[in-house]
Symmetry: D2
Amino acid sequence: MNKIGVWLIGALGSISVTVMVGALLLRKGLCDSTGMVTATEPFEGLGLVPVDAMEFGGCDIRPGRLRDVVSGFLRNPSGIDPFLIGSIEGELAGIESFIYPGVALNCGESIELVAGCDMCVSCSAREEIARVTSGINEFKSVKGLDELVVVNLASTEPLIEMGHAHRDLDALERCIDSNGFESFRPSTIYAYAAIQSRSPYINFTPSTGALFPAMVELAERNGVPVMGNDGKTGETLVKSTLAPMFKYRNLEVLSWEGFNILGNMDGKVLDHPDNKRAKIQTKDSVLPRILGYSPHSQVHINYVPSLEDQKTAWDYIHFKGFLGAKMSLQFVWQGYDSLLAAPLVLDLVRLAELAHRRGEAGLMTHLASYFKDPLGVTEHRLSGQHEMLMDYVSLASQ
Amino acid sequence: MNKIGVWLIGALGSISVTVMVGALLLRKGLCDSTGMVTATEPFEGLGLVPVDAMEFGGCDIRPGRLRDVVSGFLRNPSGIDPFLIGSIEGELAGIESFIYPGVALNCGESIELVAGCDMCVSCSAREEIARVTSGINEFKSVKGLDELVVVNLASTEPLIEMGHAHRDLDALERCIDSNGFESFRPSTIYAYAAIQSRSPYINFTPSTGALFPAMVELAERNGVPVMGNDGKTGETLVKSTLAPMFKYRNLEVLSWEGFNILGNMDGKVLDHPDNKRAKIQTKDSVLPRILGYSPHSQVHINYVPSLEDQKTAWDYIHFKGFLGAKMSLQFVWQGYDSLLAAPLVLDLVRLAELAHRRGEAGLMTHLASYFKDPLGVTEHRLSGQHEMLMDYVSLASQ
Amino acid sequence: MNKIGVWLIGALGSISVTVMVGALLLRKGLCDSTGMVTATEPFEGLGLVPVDAMEFGGCDIRPGRLRDVVSGFLRNPSGIDPFLIGSIEGELAGIESFIYPGVALNCGESIELVAGCDMCVSCSAREEIARVTSGINEFKSVKGLDELVVVNLASTEPLIEMGHAHRDLDALERCIDSNGFESFRPSTIYAYAAIQSRSPYINFTPSTGALFPAMVELAERNGVPVMGNDGKTGETLVKSTLAPMFKYRNLEVLSWEGFNILGNMDGKVLDHPDNKRAKIQTKDSVLPRILGYSPHSQVHINYVPSLEDQKTAWDYIHFKGFLGAKMSLQFVWQGYDSLLAAPLVLDLVRLAELAHRRGEAGLMTHLASYFKDPLGVTEHRLSGQHEMLMDYVSLASQ
Amino acid sequence: MNKIGVWLIGALGSISVTVMVGALLLRKGLCDSTGMVTATEPFEGLGLVPVDAMEFGGCDIRPGRLRDVVSGFLRNPSGIDPFLIGSIEGELAGIESFIYPGVALNCGESIELVAGCDMCVSCSAREEIARVTSGINEFKSVKGLDELVVVNLASTEPLIEMGHAHRDLDALERCIDSNGFESFRPSTIYAYAAIQSRSPYINFTPSTGALFPAMVELAERNGVPVMGNDGKTGETLVKSTLAPMFKYRNLEVLSWEGFNILGNMDGKVLDHPDNKRAKIQTKDSVLPRILGYSPHSQVHINYVPSLEDQKTAWDYIHFKGFLGAKMSLQFVWQGYDSLLAAPLVLDLVRLAELAHRRGEAGLMTHLASYFKDPLGVTEHRLSGQHEMLMDYVSLASQ
């Protein structure tokens, strides 16, 4: 069995921890694969990389050791049975040495607070890229890995204004050469390094600094499959499931108001208006695309520390029916943020490896169902997106 | 423009009233067609009968005049603007004389209370059939109608045990001849009369006394399209929309508990355990069909008079995710029962007429999305059912 | 029966309209007194002014006629039976001529948009006061009124910074003389004019420009009873009822997050950050006062036009119980804002008249239960506040 | 420090386990006293028995060992940090030998299933009483206890019809002599044995077989304080907090519908209609007593295994306001049943010991706030009940 590297950006964050813990527990038969779409029957014939074959590494801008993060995480309700951790402590310790310092340049105020100060000292963009690449290469060579997938699980970066450098590959290269930092976010550096190393890149965050058109062009040229943005795990998942009902029934959505409260690091970073804007933007495209019009709709995200990883969302949907009558549907979603995300990350690694093996490059639009704002895709209905995936699976199974 | 008859069983009930009021207001341009699926773009080229061409009649076991029912209905919050009624009073009065006494034989305790006592005097089954048929014929001839669609909007009947007479058409005929009342419900009489008169028959109720196999066979022989059971307007609509999400994400539904409260006649009749059982049965098939397994699931329906037509449902969905963590999704649905149903009734009349005109007979499975328990259909996902309808529309448009 | 004047600031707003419509319908026996606390048994022996004796007038900065406002208001779901309005059209027309132009000086951006531009032309503060006083006097003299109560039902003004002029009566007078507009809001003018005219003043809004210490001192000197701030009609009412439960049970509230959505003018004005801040401030004092500590708590108010007068609030309360376990209580409040407020306004008019008659002056602290932020009161539990009222009633009944 | 015995009926149930675990953790300083009312300031001067002084024993009809019950309980989400249990394993083992077989005679079908069959073999009533008494005495003597409080935490028994033997103490004695089993439930035996042994008896369950008038008379004669019925921990706690709001505001409650779902043994036993009736009866008295009238109100309890100890309740309150408008308040309560109950049990033991020491006998009505249906008390408002407790504390502190 060939081993595959999984390189997690934000490796000390709660989603990464859950990905690693989950994979290790699965390997030992201490949990089942509930929540992993690729564990279901239609994916059986595809020869997907087993979770057992995954080796974990990555980087983080935060100082700290994985073991402390894990035990801190488990001290709070996380949905994970803390008794199980004892059995994988050795494996977790083994990962420790492959967690490298992350990139913090131009990451925005809110994330800077999280990082140690010395992280933010500038060096040139090419040097930063080289530093990331060298970590990846070291990890691959020590572990003897043929293939590696990079997944961005870091905090949401502030929005970046799209300019020429984001639309044109040559302009991007020149911009990197001239250290045009105002056009970059850390995710730009990571994505560039990954794609140049011929590693598939998954943007599980809302950050828009990575998979802009010029970067996708680079991926296409290098034969590297990429996909994003922003893992669809909670409120937006429900939204993309429910909204078509109103369309199918010719009921007019008047207002769709969403209130999200959460208490993990994600919540803390999103409490900063710059970062929140990026997040809310990826959530915003769903309704107009599905309904064909834009109802009054605001998405609110608020940091409520006591909730920790248990995200709660209240959505109020006001709609108009026959003879102008107004009616409503409300829902309350209560889920462990990281536990919802982690199995999807394992799915995406397996499907990115498959795509790379099959010689695909550029956007993996068949993975639309995994993302809040799937790049290159106009289908926002979950059922339609699921069908896109099933069609791909059929094709790939032949 | 050829006129079409719409024969409503339970013509004095709140759905029927809303159907008639809505159609008359639409005709006068006093409301729009929100809530009618057939008013959307894909249906444009089908030459569907316009709402303007519909003439209304029907029957009810309750004594009473339509005008009193309408004004009583509007005195309570119904979602209908009561100011608009003045403009259609003449038309409503014109319908009055085409509302005939209904059939009450073996309708069960709860519905008998609603009917006047003299309704329940027995005559032979053939006589009852003839009486219904003669009302339909009179209506058609006075109004000069070529086509007529029968829609059952009456209260839910108690379940009937399926026997030989329900599976074999000859046995059914013999059973009618011998007045085997224990095998019939009023809906049996109505459906038989309708189909023998070559009129499409829609069962918008959960009552199982009409569209059993022998009756469907009769419809096929007579070239009559039929469909049922039980209009999908509220909690089940949401359920058939949401449940696939858990399937697509490989999240295991542990429990799905539904609590419905409502205060109209429907609620009152459903408060009787016999009638409730029939209702809950049509709601019960959805989850196992969509998920592929049967989670703990109970549907409760309770009569809360103060709510009147405003049905409220709370559903609590408990599910298991990655690493065994339990999470939940709750929703609260608040809608006007009759306003949700009425536009679908208009849709079904139009689509039944089309099917009849196109020479189709037996079950109209392409109408699955309209029903809680669509006969002859295993697809219970709303999106899949919607696609079935769209496929039919494409075919019929050619 | 002596008549009493009710002078409504914001007379064309939805609460005022509901107060007037409600009083007129009550007078005709077309509705009952549900929602009026003073209509219950304990208040019977107090000789309170009957609703029949109330004459309505007031002012508004918006242009427009009362009849148009009423009919516009009723065109949307307001909870009021529109059929009843016909019977009081004459009375409403009679009120029309006693609605005077309001004061708009330094009312803030958001309210200026509502007012006509010419309203904002400056004249001196004393002139504005005189203008208001002259309207009140005219109304009293034409109607032959002995007593008049002023109630502020206008939109929430932006917060004003408290300075010397707000704490010292002489400084206030000097500030008025010198047109120190930056220290005033329109509510300052109204309150000053009312108190100088020996009319009780009720601040049903969160605006802090009226009942600051210097103004209360003026009221005391003039023998005028006053009270505020901010009518307690919805979310805060529930909060002040529920919060003591956690205290009594020694359960620790970790977070109490409130999300309010509404669509009337109140909502529109509160959408402006300046005005929202004033509102949220009056809501904020409740928890710390009841619990004895300050849990994480944010109150959000958002404008959702389709809801109109139907305010909806979702509160999520996260609390810690035995052995550190976290649990939650959520509530959803759905009420017609103006219908909740209006009967309380009628109560307050009756109780202010009583207090004035009894020779009371300054803050009517026994009315604490009516206000979100009751001035001069530290008791925030609804039950305790209710007892304060009952104690007063016992005393006044002797 | 004098030690005090706590004798738990249903000692292997989840509330008992939580009481014992909680007390042991408190003693070790591994948790705080959140949720214990007697841990707050007003109780400081009363000389209440410290939790450290409590020794635990009891009985159960279920076979099984405490250690297995604890570890089974902790395997599921219980809100208890499972890491803490290791530190109290020795203490738990020490309790094991003081858990005696319980009484199962005439306990009803549903509880019989829980008990082992041989438990249900009949012996005479006096023999059963003697058996219970002997267990209590053995425990007291081995542990050297001066005082012991009996708390019933067993499953809800089916209702028993009240007859002469329940109203007259002599008749009760004769009935016991003649083995009139149809008039007894196990709780009758327990209460009789406790009171005869001069031990205070707390009925934390809805079972009506213990504290009927004749038994209270026995308690008075023996100088023993007793109290019940049914610990107020969740939905009813909220109900008795919220309902006064509607009364205070003169808002008419039209309907109050409650839906409870839970998955522990309590839920399983309550799934049987006989037992459910007893439970619902204790919940039913609250609204009429507080409001002064009986709105439409049904309380539903349903067994949903996946929820385990996490009880969830949805209440829908429909109310009428000014001008007849209908509005609503909904709440969702999500709490760990046993964690809510356990600290109250510790409170009640402390307060029963105090009452006994102070020479009080019969019903402890000052403990009304702890019970859904407080015997001998008409005050159902939580705030009023809390005041009764505070008044008692003031008196006892003198």
